[in-house]
């Protein structure tokens, strides 16, 4: 056991820090500071991702042969930690972290050649079609159908909670190709462009009140959409559930602690500005105790993540640990957003139609209220999603009940 970095690791850390310092520009920082959920408008996200791409760091988890960063396990950890510590913008995960690993593992050579390079360069934006109106936690009950007709599938149905579908060029979907056997056995994993006839996207405005075209989630409708099987089917027909589970490892497998540290540092920054009885709120004993409590929880999660990733890099398989990290991490994200809301006090009340719009205008001037307070309530409302998405925390606890307790 050893917690220290080598000389080379420290040099790498300095290199990452310097790069961030240069490329994470003040205007981008200002906009990101006002983002309620870590996302920016599409052009900002793409331009940030392209900077990482130009440096060769856009895909720390990809194998080098596909353009991955070629990091060692420690470098990957340092990179993630430094990016999170600086609070750099989120990268859109649907292409880079979700569909790409599935294409690499199960796609044809033609599919790999066609799709991986534009994912890497952020020239194609992806969205994920999993949940349906009647199929959320019980994903295997999904009904969107793909019916063979000659060399094509004809698609009918609807997907819901589709993140940034309004910006997407392509979608990956789980669809029903068979109704025989268990529900899991009739599902296929397919990919296709979003501009085909019969596809329509409608915004689902969330509690945090997104402005036009900045909504996080959508419902997508498919009406007799025709796609060629050869291009769109990944791997084998009716094996989609296996591929989806493989993907979930990536969706659930990221470290939470570095991002949580950054989020809490923002809360502390706010609590240094906010006053209580003539002193910074951060010096208020009750508030400070809550910050300390969260910090300790984050550090215990961090230590747990390091233990798990060290086991993973030694070749052990991901098991119930990812469910544990998801529950702990998402609940801490929510706790931090709750503490931030508390920190801004009454100034949580002004409704900022969208923190993107505000960020672009560069100021909250028209309201006469503090900028740092603007994203607090939208974030708190928005982050309720974290214990719901990617398998609700109830589902994660059921998984652990089975896998850990054997019950």
């Amino acid at each position: 056991m050893d917690l220290t970095f080598t000389e080379e690791d420290r040099a790498f850390q300095t290199e990452v820090r310097d790069w961030i310092e240069t490329h994470y520009t003040p205007d981008l920082r200002a906009r990101n500071a006002l983002s309620k959920n870590g996302y920016l408008a599409k052009d900002d996200m793409v331009s940030w991702q392209k900077k990482l791409y130009d440096r060769g760091w856009i895909a720390p988890n990809w194998p080098e042969k596909f353009g991955g960063a070629g990091f060692t396990a420690t470098q990957k950890y340092i990179f993630g930690m430094e990016m999170a510590a600086a609070g750099t913008p989120s990268t859109s995960p649907m292409g880079l972290s979700m569909v790409a690993p599935v294409i690499m593992a199960f796609g044809s050579d033609a599919q790999k050649q066609k799709h991986l390079p534009p994912i890497l360069s952020s020239d194609i934006w992806w969205c994920q079609g999993y949940s349906e109106p009647g199929s959320g936690s019980d994903l295997a009950s999904l009904q969107m159908s793909a019916v063979r007709d000659g060399d094509d599938y004809v698609l009918n149905g609807s997907k819901i909670w589709t993140t940034h579908a309004q910006w997407a060029d392509w979608i990956f979907c789980l669809v029903r190709t068979s109704r025989d056997g268990k529900p899991q056995e009739g599902i296929s994993f397919i990919i296709f462009p979003m501009d085909l006839p019969g596809i329509s996207v409608s915004a689902l405005p969330t509690l945090d009140g997104p402005s036009d075209n900045q909504q996080e989630i959508n419902q997508v409708y498919f009406e007799n959409v025709r796609v060629p099987i050869k291009d769109s089917l990944i791997g084998e027909e009716n094996k989609g559930w296996t591929y989806a589970k493989y993907l979930l490892q990536f969706e659930r497998g990221n470290a939470y602690a570095p991002g949580l540290r950054n989020a809490l540092s923002k809360t502390k920054k706010i609590a240094r500005i906010e006053q209580a009885d003539g002193r910074p709120l951060l010096q208020d004993a009750d508030f400070a105790r809550k910050v300390a409590n969260l910090e300790m929880k984050i550090e215990s999660l961090n230590a747990t993540e390091l233990r798990i990733f060290s086991a993973l890099s030694a070749g052990e398989a991901v098991g119930p640990e990812s469910s544990m990290l998801k529950c702990a991490g998402s609940e801490m994200q929510q706790a931090i957003s709750e503490l931030t809301l508390e920190a801004v006090g009454g100034y949580a009340a002004p409704f900022v139609q969208d923190t993107f719009a505000l960020a672009r205008a560069g100021t909250n001037e028209t309201m006469g209220t503090p900028d740092h307070a603007a994203p607090a309530a939208p974030s708190y409302f928005n982050y309720r999603k974290t214990s719901i998405y990617a398998g609700s925390n109830e589902i994660q606890r059921n998984i652990m009940t089975k896998m850990v307790l054997g019950l």
């Binding site: 199929s135 959320g136 819901i160 689902l204 969330t206 709120l281 508030f287 009454g346 009340a349 999603k385």
Partner: protein
Amino acid sequence: MDFNFTEEQTMIRDSLSRLIREKYDFDTRRGVVQSEAGWSPEFWAQLAELGLLMAPFSEEDGGLGGGAIDAMVVMEEFGKGLVVEPYIPTIVCAGGFLKHAGSAAQKEEYLASIMGGETVFAFAYAEPRGRYNLADLETTAKANGAGYTLSGHKAVVIGAPWASKLIVTARTSGDRRDRGGISLFIVDKDAPGVTTRDYPTVDGRRASEVYFENVALGADALIGDADGALPLIERVADEATAALCAEAVGAMGVAHAQTVEYSRQRKQFGTAIGKFQVLQHRMVDMFMEHEQSISMTYMATLKLGDDTVERQKAVSAAKVRIGQAGRFVGQSAIQIHGGMGMTEELAVGHYFKRLTMIDSELGNVDHHMRRYTELGVAPLQAAAE
């Protein structure tokens, strides 16, 4: 001991509940909130017509002879319907200040028009750096001849865009945060030197930043004693807090009921999700939190007339419990609704947002926990030593 409502109070509840059902359903409310004005003066006039605005005033003051319990009944119904109209600022706060401390001339000038729905007030007490401390004032009113000159900035003044009159707390002597030296004024919103920046709030209301720049006030603008208004302000803030607790109770009840109903309808894994024990227990916990919030609200409201310490302890205890319960009930309602709970379309998210914001009004959980500790725990400890 009697927790029953009088016939009049039951009538208030029934007529208001019917009015909200008929004229303020969720879609209508959405339209009201999104309208340019952001509230419904017609609905306010209907409340006046039904006598609801005069309910908590004595007959001597021209009211129906009710009091805080009547306001509690009204606000619980407001909570159920997510009504945004300014009952607390106008009736409970401005009405409270006037009935407790208004001069005969002030009562004469304002009470009837408040009860008739013609004059709307907002209560400007919070400041950008004052947090929940009612005495932490940077707004000043300097004596000027027989009157005063008011300067300062009040933050997040709920209902100010709809109001023609403001009740403003200001320091007339002493240092920032001194308990003495605070006075209370009635200020015309269109007086020279008053400017506002209006905005909608996350829970569907409207509020303003209000700026005073050398606003000239006459001697008749003062309510109660010069320099000695803090006890009065605290009393009315406690009455408003109790009313806010009642609103939260109403909102919690609906959030809980909608969640149970959704859990009956929503099917996953071949069964209604309400059949899952983990959700059942959470919904039962919501029920328990709601019931205890009802009890605490009754208790605090009944103790509003007690001596200061008893009143403050009861109100703080209620606000703490309601803050905790509101958070739990609101968060659980969203969690059990899943993705649907995250949408703007469903009502449940709007109840969640209102419950969230109630905690940051008139002192959050920490603030009231501290006040309770100072009043109720620290003195006992000192006595034992």
